[in-house]
Structures are given as structure tokens and as C-alpha cells.
């Protein structure tokens, strides 16, 4: 890719924004019909998302796992693969982090990277079988990764509740100090649990961008994504790249679990993931499978998920209405063909550009 084509980027952003804005209008109508004040509701939503330093930090905290899972889906997608198993990879990674994090007597310099790497490895291994099945036998990854989600649910529930649980609770033991992510509340006086995981997420975006567009392996992965047969003809080993792409995707999802375990909860507990793995699919879709897009999309969903709490608290609007809003946004974004046509029509009519 030779530089960024700002023209194209702006257009893509405009399409997404129109979709988002339209869905907010529909959301307002729904709120109004449900007997609430939409202005009050949206004000509460925005106040919740940006109203104070603490709220902004909470928004970023909600954004963090979505950056990881969104990037996980987007990365696989660049190789033409649909990784729906992000949720399972996240849970397995999270539980692994919560377990390795309890190891005692290791200095932080070793313990923290070890824990994070263990989570990444667990996420990658969780998608290994689907990856091999896809690469060697052509078994569709959508089916296998979904199936592996269910295995993950049960396995993780069993281990966390039966093997690692703190007696009488539905949580595992608290991790050691040496495995905890640094929290911003150490520096700034606030309640938010925003932690260094957010910075790691940003770094990961840059690394993924570099990997995909500046390295040979990234070139190969993208080539396979465009056409596996053509790539094969050009001397690229499709099977190998499929396995690599899926495992990196799994690693990213595992990182999401690590951030929750090491930065937010300090353990593994039931209700560990609020379906971040699935929201990640929407984030990747909205972000056009590009790191920058993923960041913006994750931010939007972070705003919605943090803001909806305040919509509930300040305006009394049921949280379900925000879930409707999210659904409408996804619907509009995936139906962006309508907007594309709209834009094209205008262009043809006025002859701009």
C-alpha cells in the first residue's frame, strides 16, 4: 500500500458516519416511542461517555477489549477467514492469565510478560485445531470456531468453578501483585480501572498494521485473503498462511482476556466477558478490517456501552434501548450499500470530484 489514500479514507468514514447518525435518529424515535426524552437520553449517554475524566477513562476501559477482539476478527478477515471463535479464545486466554497470574514468587519483570504470553498462547492454541482443519481439509472455519466456543464455555466454567475457584465463590483466586497491569488510578484520583492494557491495545494496532502491510508474511496473508488459488500459483503456501493468520487472530483474542484478568478483575469470574468476542465481529465490520477503523469502531462501541449505564442511571432509559441502538448501527453499517448508492447518485448528479 503506497501511503494512505485520504480521499478513500474520508469517503469510508463518511459512509460509516452517515450510518451511525441515521441509527441515532432511529434510536431517538425508539426512545421517544417508549415514552422517554431522547435529548435527555443522549445527553446522559454522552455525559456518561465523556462527562468527566473518570467517565472518559471508563469509556476507554470499555473500548480496550473491543480493540483486541475487533483486531482479531479483522486480522483473520484479511486472510479471507471468518474467526467467530474470538469469544472462546478470549475466555481461554483470560482464564490462563488468571491462573498463571497466581503463581507466586516470580519477579514482575518475568511474571507479567510470562502471564501475558501464556494468555496469547492459550488463545492461539484454542484456534489451532480449527486452523489445521481449515488448512488441511478445508473444513469451514465458521463452523469449527463456533463449535470451539461452546467447548470453551464448558471447559472454562468447569476449571474456574471446580478447580481454581476460591471456595464458596464463583471467582478464582486474586492474582499476585507481580502480574497486575498498572492502573491509571495510581496516578490520577479516579475510580476507573483503566489500565496499561489500553496502551498495549494501541501498540498492537500499530504492530498489526506494520505486520500486514510492511512485511512479507503480511503480504502473503493478504494475498491468500484475496485469492488463495492465485496466491498458491504465485508460490505462496496458502495452508501455512491460513494457520498463521488464525493463530495470530487467536493470540489477539487471548490478549483481550489477559487485559480483563490482569487489569480489570484481577481474577477470573463468571460473567468474565460481556460477549466481547462477538461484539468484535461488529467492530471489525464497522472498522472495515483496518487497524485505524477498528480503533474508531471499538471507541464507538465503548462509548455506547459505558454511556448506556448513564442513560439508565440519569435518564431512567432501560439499557435494552441502547442495545437496540447498537443493533441498528450494525444493521446500517452492514447495509452500507444503500449509502454507497446514495453517494454515487449525488456524485453523478452534480459531477463533483
Amino acid at each position: 500500500m503506497s501511503g494512505i489514500e485520504w480521499n478513500k479514507v474520508l469517503k469510508e468514514m463518511a459512509i460509516s458516519l452517515v450510518a451511525i447518525f441515521s441509527s441515532f435518529i432511529i434510536g431517538a424515535i425508539v426512545v421517544l416511542l417508549s415514552g422517554y426524552n431522547p435529548i435527555q437520553a443522549y445527553h446522559a449517554l454522552l455525559y456518561g461517555a465523556f462527562g468527566s475524566l473518570n467517565n472518559i477513562a471508563d469509556t476507554l476501559l470499555a473500548t480496550t477489549p473491543l480493540i483486541f477482539t475487533g483486531m482479531a476478527v479483522a486480522f483473520a478477515f484479511r486472510c479471507g477467514l471468518f474467526n467467530i471463535g474470538g469469544e472462546g479464545q478470549l475466555l481461554v486466554g483470560g482464564l490462563t492469565a488468571a491462573w498463571v497470574g497466581t503463581f507466586q514468587g516470580i519477579p514482575m519483570l518475568i511474571h507479567l510478560p510470562l502471564t501475558v504470553m501464556a494468555a496469547m498462547l492459550a488463545g492461539a492454541l484454542w484456534v489451532f485445531i480449527p486452523a489445521i482443519l481449515k488448512a488441511k481439509l478445508g473444513v469451514h472455519e465458521v463452523i469449527t470456531t463456533i463449535m470451539f466456543n461452546y467447548i470453551a464455555y464448558s471447559l472454562v466454567a468447569y476449571i474456574s468453578l471446580k478447580v481454581l475457584a476460591r471456595p464458596g465463590t464463583v471467582q478464582t483466586h486474586t492474582i499476585e501483585e507481580s502480574a497486575k497491569f498498572w492502573r491509571f488510578s495510581n496516578l490520577i484520583d479516579m475510580h476507573s480501572y483503566l489500565n496499561i492494557g489500553f496502551v498495549i491495545a494501541l501498540a498492537v494496532l500499530v504492530i498489526v498494521y506494520y505486520l500486514l502491510w510492511k512485511t512479507t508474511i503480511g503480504y502473503e496473508i493478504r494475498a491468500v485473503g484475496i485469492s488463495p488459488d492465485a496466491a498458491e500459483y504465485g508460490g505462496i503456501n496458502s495452508a501455512r498462511n491460513i494457520v498463521i493468520a488464525l493463530m495470530i487472530s487467536g493470540m489477539l483474542a487471548g490478549l483481550a482476556g489477559a487485559e480483563r484478568a490482569l487489569g480489570l478483575f484481577y481474577n477470573y469470574r463468571s460473567g468474565f466477558s460481556a460477549e466481547y468476542g462477538f461484539t468484535g465481529i461488529a467492530v471489525a465490520l464497522l472498522g472495515r478490517n483496518h487497524p485505524l477503523g477498528v480503533l474508531l469502531a471499538a471507541l464507538l462501541f465503548g462509548i455506547l456501552s459505558n454511556g448506556r449505564t448513564y442513560m439508565n442511571m440519569m435518564a431512567g432509559v432501560p439499557v435494552d434501548l441502547v442495545v437496540i441502538l447498537q443493533a441498528v448501527i450494525i444493521l446500517f453499517v452492514s447495509a452500507d450499500l444503500v449509502f454507497r448508492r446514495l453517494f454515487k447518485f449525488k456524485k453523478n448528479g452534480k459531477g463533483d470530484e
Binding site: 480521499n7 474520508l10 452517515v18 447518525f21 443522549y42 445527553h43 468447569y158 475510580h191 463468571s270 449505564t309
Partner: protein, 374 residues
């Protein structure tokens, strides 16, 4: 190109307009006691705990104890803490957390706001400003077990089979549900002992994760297998999973015992009774205590004596069933079916259960508590 930028600008302007004209930030302050409640995962309309707690507050409002209350429905584990803090920092006099999942959150937020009163349902938090409202589920379950054991030996009754087997369906395999199970089986054992009967029980759990509380398909499978093994009455402590039990009871024309709230109407004519945890009573009591200036922190056990746990009426149709009829949740035939079923329950069994209840209250019968044993 220019068009696109123009479009973006217009969008930005419209958005800022929307932000600009918002109302004030604080929650409206009203006269009287302000109560806030943070619900558990099922949210409002769970026909169980949350609804029961809200009913208690609703009653407190009708009785003029509180001006109004605000409820919150956290969607994520991490949100409950934010909800609790929001309520506490907005000068609510009493902040209630529903469910054991909020244990840590209440512990944390209650120490941040020592002047605010807190209550937690189904968990224990040892802070000077927290009332821990727990229930003697084992006592209520003991009554359910004794009742099931007495009923299953009456072969002359409709739907009661030759085999003297009763069943228990648990949701997630965890100490709290084991407490129900032990109470129930102890009730069966007690009847065997005093009556010389030979009632056996089948016990099964739907799973080992919280999802097992919302898995009616598995619940139905387990219920059918227990019915096939000779059971005619199955008691459940499994949340939404119990829906499967009710379906199974309907399809086989056999019986179930409901839990938590009065579920007698859910499968009309097939739910003999329900072991109710009167969360509403405990919430109401807590509010009342504050208005009378006698709020007490610490563990408050709601048992048979204080009607914190109770079987739904055996000799007549309960209020909840009538309400369900009035709300249009069940038809007139359904209501008649519940009535017929209640009339079928022999008076001597009803008397016997009442006697056992009094014996538990007086301490003549000591029901084993799984929690204190383990």
C-alpha cells in the same frame, strides 16, 4: 470530495446540537426516603428475585414509606459497581444490591460511603453500614421435601404413581443450591422416619456454570428422565431452567414444585406449590426499619418464622396466581385448573405440613444447613 467534508461538518454540528441542549445533570431530588436498587443479571421482569425485590419497594411506596425508588439493570459484571456508586453518591438513603454476584461491589462501595445504608440480598458483607439479607432456604426446602414425600404415597390421587420416588432439579452445582437439595432430601428422610414410608429421591444438576440457571432444554431432559424413573413430583432450584421442568410436568401430566417466587400459575394445574423466598418482605422490612430508625447492619436471616421463606398456599389459590389471571397471563381455565389441583391436596397433609413448620420454628426439628456443614 468537498461534498464529503461538508457532510461530515453537518453531522458534527448536528451532534453537538444534540449534546448542547441536554438537561441538568443531577437526578431529581424528592422529599422522603430515597431508595436505589441494582438488580441482578435477569433484570426487571425475571418473574423471580428482581421482580420480588421491586414488589417490596412498590409496596413500601404505596404505604408511603418511601417517596420513590430507582432501579438499575447492569448488563456487565463491571457495571454493578458503577451503578452502586452512582446511587450512593447521589444521596440515596438506602442502596440495595440483588444477588451474590454483587458481594465484592457492595463491600467496596459501602466502605467508600460509610454514611449511606446498604443492603445485599443472598450474600454476606461484613460492613457497619450493610444489612445482609439471607434466607433459610433449607427450612423451606425441608417443607417442600416433606410435602412431596407425603404426596407421592397417595396413589389414589390424580397423577400420583405407584412408585414412591420424588425428584430434585438443581441449576448450577454450587453450595447455595446444595443447601436447597439437602433441605429437601432431609424433608423426605424425615417423613420416611416418622411414617415408615420408603420414599426415595433422584437428584440432578443442569450444569456447573451460571448458564445452568437458564437452560430449560437441559431442565426438561433431566425432568423427563426423573419422571421416567418413577418420580411424580420434582422440586427445582434452577431459575429459568425450571421452565423445562414445567413443560415436562405438563406433557406427562405429573407434578412440579416451584421455587423463589409463587410459580403455581406457570404450568397451571401441574405446580403443586412453590417454595417462596420472600425477597419482597425482606426489602420491605429493611425500608420499614430505616423509617422507624432501627436499621441494623449484619446478617439478617429470613426463615419460616418471619415468613422470609414459605410454601405458597396449599389449600387455596394464592394471590400471585389471581394476579396472574387478572393481568391476563393465564386464562380462566388455567385458574380453574390450579383451583382443582389445590382442592385435590388432602387436608391431613396440609395439617401435617403446618405441624412440621411449627416444629421447625420451635426448634423441635433441626434442618441441616449445607452452608454451615461445609
Amino acid at each position: 470530495m468537498k461534498k464529503t467534508i461538508l457532510m461530515l461538518l453537518v453531522l458534527l454540528m448536528l451532534t453537538s446540537l444534540l449534546v448542547g441542549c441536554g438537561g441538568e445533570e443531577e437526578v431529581t431530588t424528592e422529599e422522603g426516603l430515597k431508595v436505589g436498587i441494582v438488580l441482578s443479571s435477569g433484570g426487571k421482569g425475571d418473574m423471580s428475585f428482581n421482580d420480588s425485590a421491586l414488589r417490596g419497594l412498590e409496596r413500601a411506596k404505596e404505604d408511603g414509606l418511601i417517596a420513590d425508588f430507582q432501579y438499575m439493570e447492569p448488563r456487565e459484571t463491571a457495571e454493578a459497581e458503577r451503578n452502586l456508586r452512582f446511587l450512593a453518591s447521589n444521596n440515596f438513603d438506602l442502596v440495595i444490591g440483588v444477588g451474590f454476584m454483587q458481594e465484592d461491589d457492595i463491600a467496596l462501595v459501602s466502605s467508600e460511603f460509610p454514611e449511606t445504608k446498604f443492603a445485599i440480598i443472598d450474600a454476606v458483607v461484613e460492613n457497619d453500614n450493610v444489612a445482609s439479607l439471607v434466607f433459610a432456604e433449607h427450612e423451606g426446602s425441608f417443607l417442600a421435601g416433606a410435602f412431596a414425600a407425603l404426596m407421592t404415597t397417595r396413589n389414589e390421587l390424580d397423577g400420583i404413581k405407584e412408585d414412591t420416588v420424588v425428584g430434585f432439579l438443581g441449576g448450577m452445582d454450587m453450595p447455595l443450591i446444595r443447601k436447597f437439595e439437602l433441605g429437601y432430601t432431609s424433608g423426605v428422610d424425615y417423613i420416611n422416619e416418622v411414617k415408615g414410608t420408603d420414599v426415595s429421591y433422584r437428584v440432578a444438576y443442569a450444569g456447573s456454570s451460571p448458564a445452568a440457571f437458564n437452560d430449560p432444554a437441559t431442565g426438561q431432559e433431566i425432568a423427563l428422565s426423573q419422571y421416567d424413573a418413577g418420580a411424580d413430583i420434582i422440586y427445582h432450584a434452577s431459575g429459568g431452567t425450571g421452565g423445562g421442568l414445567f413443560r415436562a410436568a405438563q406433557s406427562r401430566g405429573l407434578y412440579a414444585i416451584g421455587v423463589d417466587s409463587d410459580q403455581d400459575w406457570v404450568a397451571s394445574g401441574n405446580v403443586l406449590t412453590s417454595m417462596q423466598k420472600r425477597v419482597d418482605n425482606s426489602v420491605y422490612d429493611t425500608v420499614l426499619a430505616i423509617t422507624e430508625d432501627r436499621f441494623e447492619a449484619g446478617i439478617q436471616v429470613y426463615g419460616l418464622e418471619s415468613a422470609g421463606v414459605a410454601l405458597s398456599p396449599l389449600d387455596r389459590v394464592g394471590v400471585t396466581v389471581e394476579e396472574a389471571y387478572e393481568m391476563g397471563n393465564i386464562s380462566e381455565e388455567d385458574l380453574a385448573r390450579v383451583k382443582d389441583m389445590k382442592e385435590m391436596i388432602p387436608q391431613d397433609i396440609i395439617d401435617e405440613i403446618e405441624e412440621i413448620r411449627e416444629k421447625i420454628i420451635s426448634g423441635d426439628i433441626v434442618v441441616p444447613d449445607y452452608m454451615s456443614q461445609n
